[in-house]
Symmetry: C2
Subunit: 404 residues, 2 copies
């Protein structure tokens, strides 16, 4: 008998019909002879509605009370889903985060799971019950309710799968797997049967909204087999695991694009040690995440430092740098939001040094200019003009995947 | 320093404005130097909305899952109210039933409070925090969430007041106290400064929706001083306590009327022992509450048994009796819904035997016929034609309260 953890997001439980559909998927898994633990998000817009109610009363409400409020969203989902399963005639019990033993640290609204006390979960499974657990929430050592922040329900599911030594953790979402590129943009994009944790991590960082980063990190750490699949299509999805089977020639798994970035250039900073440190420690202290960094080798009258940030951080970052102009000593600050980051990800490129060259060739073929380059072991990102981004993705996808 | 428990119902927290108003009342009490524990119901129609959602998914959902669902209503209220209090600058914490240590038995949807473990409550009060607790809910020994059934938030408030040895338990409602009669009907009706627990119990049983019976019973048992007052008027309310101060001549405290009753008459039952037992044990076993009972002394060819039930129970009761006609052996069953029960309640009547005579005189004066009579130590109820009920109340109120 296998233990399977299934996670359904807010759109999958948005109304009575969808809850009934989810209940059917769950009971099918149960009736196939598995022990089933289900993790649910709040229904549709419930969390946003609750935040709006709170803002109307106090826009500066404490995180502790926000957690108390927001945790009700998932509690409603699990109770309703359990009722739908009761209607299908299977034994079931819903549990809140604290009932399921999800213990977190004390950071309200962005808590981290510290451990899961599985006694109750195991007792319910031994009673042959389907167990429906609220995602996104836990309890801290003060017995206060906490929530896990963005992507929290994915993390809850993976943590439960790890704690219960589950055979598989299925993340149901509105896409039916990981594709070689965004299928809405690239008609030739193909669904991948398997990707590695590292590839998935890079893809998550690149803005592919399939799985939250923290959940993939946790899956990698505890070696939890993940499956990303759609609750609507009924197709098998993409398995995320340590080593992925891949056809020999496909060094990369996916092409992704992120248009929500901006480039900042500091022109004419002193060509001396410590300048980069000053700039990036300043940004880090103020919670500005910096992505690609490019620093010229410099000459006598100074050097240039370029880097990218999320567009939402641009204003704060630029303001911060201007305030510290005297300390950093730059001549000019330039910003540019008409940029996009195009990335290829693939565990296969570790042993295949030709990937970068092939990428550059693809872009050269269609006349796309490369602005900045950043590489990791399994990823190559290039910064291009935003208006050329789609063309770049198309060209790269064709170059890497046509030969498969 | 006094400990004051304040309870606000669903209409008092129905929207942001009302929550802000309630927060003001709470912080005023806190700033006057009191330790304040607040008990809240779910907002306005929240509970009904949740029940509707459940019915759409599974009209036969288990009580356990219904409790899981319904408990979210109060959790939303307490979080929002705590936020409103934060906005007013007072230290505050909201607690669910289980966080507040409200331990109940395992009867879902109609749980009874077994004990309150006050460690957390006391710790929060010692930290000078206002504590906002979800009414209507607790946790059972299996760590499942339970709800207390109708009037549950009143009971939560009284139980917390008892456990914390509070100096006063204020029940805020949409009326501003207990009146000598329904002020919407009797313009001369006066608010009472004090009534006894027993009087309040009789009034609650008579359908005065001011306080739920169970909460008054608990207040009496643990000698908790209750105050019934309005969250809208700002006036002082009515204190409910063991012995009420009363002007010498007012033997009764209040006149009440209940039009939601029906009379059943069993005509021609055998004049032998055991008949009444058969009838009323049958009804009790089927959860039909019987109120006034009148049984003739009987003669050779049988006797009649009359009694009243709530109109909502009439159909079931009549059907049940007809099914058991052979066992009970009655000739005819008559039902009548055009009746009303008019009652006078007053601890003073124990030592004043003239109250009944005075009541009958009042009704005789205006030509109201008395159909059935029932008395307790501190209550006299008469059954009259429904169309004469208001006239009866008016006449009684004038007779008893004009001389004050």
């Amino acid at each position: 008998m296998s233990i399977i953890v299934q996670k359904f997001g807010g759109t999958s439980v948005a109304n009575a019909d969808r809850i009934r559909h989810v209940a059917k998927l769950i009971t099918d898994t149960y009736r196939a002879g598995n022990q089933v633990v289900v993790v649910l998000s709040a229904q549709g817009d419930t969390t946003d509605d609750l935040i709006e109610m709170a803002n109307e009363i106090n826009p500066h409400a404490s995180n502790r009370e926000m957690d108390m409020l927001l945790a009700t969203g998932e509690q409603i989902s699990v109770a309703l889903c359990a009722m739908a399963i009761e209607a299908l005639g299977c034994p079931v019990v819903s549990l809140t985060g604290w009932q399921a033993g999800v213990v977190t640290n004390t950071v309200s609204r962005a808590a981290r799971i510290k451990r899961i006390e599985t006694e109750r979960l195991e007792a319910e499974l031994n009673q042959k019950r389907i167990v429906i657990v609220t995602g996104f929430q836990g309890i801290n050592r003060n017995e206060d309710i906490t929530t896990l922040g963005r992507g929290g329900s994915d993390t809850s599911a993976v943590a439960l799968a790890a704690a219960l030594h589950a055979d598989l953790c299925q993340i149901y979402t509105d896409v039916d797997g990981v594709y070689t590129a965004d299928p809405r943009k690239i008609p030739d994009a193909r669904k991948l049967d398997e990707v590695t944790y590292d590839e998935m991590l890079e893809l998550a960082t690149l803005g592919a909204q399939v799985l939250h980063n923290r959940s993939v990190e946790m899956a990698k750490k505890y070696n939890v087999s993940l499956e990303v699949l759609s609750s609507f299509s009924g197709n098998s999805g993409t398995i995320v695991k340590e080593v992925a089977k891949r056809m020999e020639k496909s060094y990369i798994s996916s092409v992704a694009v992120d248009k929500n970035i901006a480039r900042i250039a500091l022109i004419g900073v002193p060509n001396e040690t410590g300048t980069s440190f000053k700039v990036f420690s300043l940004l880090a202290q103020n919670n500005v995440n910096v992505d690609i960094i490019l620093q010229g080798i410099g000459h006598e009258d100074g050097k240039d430092i370029c880097f990218t940030v999320a567009q939402s951080d641009l204003e704060a970052a630029a303001e911060l740098l201007k305030q510290n102009r005297e300390r950093i000593q730059f001549n000019r600050l330039e910003t540019n939001t008409n940029v996009a980051k195009v990335s290829v990800v693939g565990a296969g490129m570790i042993n295949n040094p030709g990937v970068a060259a092939k990428l550059f060739e693809a872009l050269y073929d269609v006349g796309v200019n490369i602005n900045m380059i950043s590489t990791s072991e399994i990823k190559i990102s290039v910064l291009v003009d935003q208006k050329e981004a789609d063309l770049a993705v198309e060209a790269i996808h064709e170059k890497f995947f046509q030969m498969m």
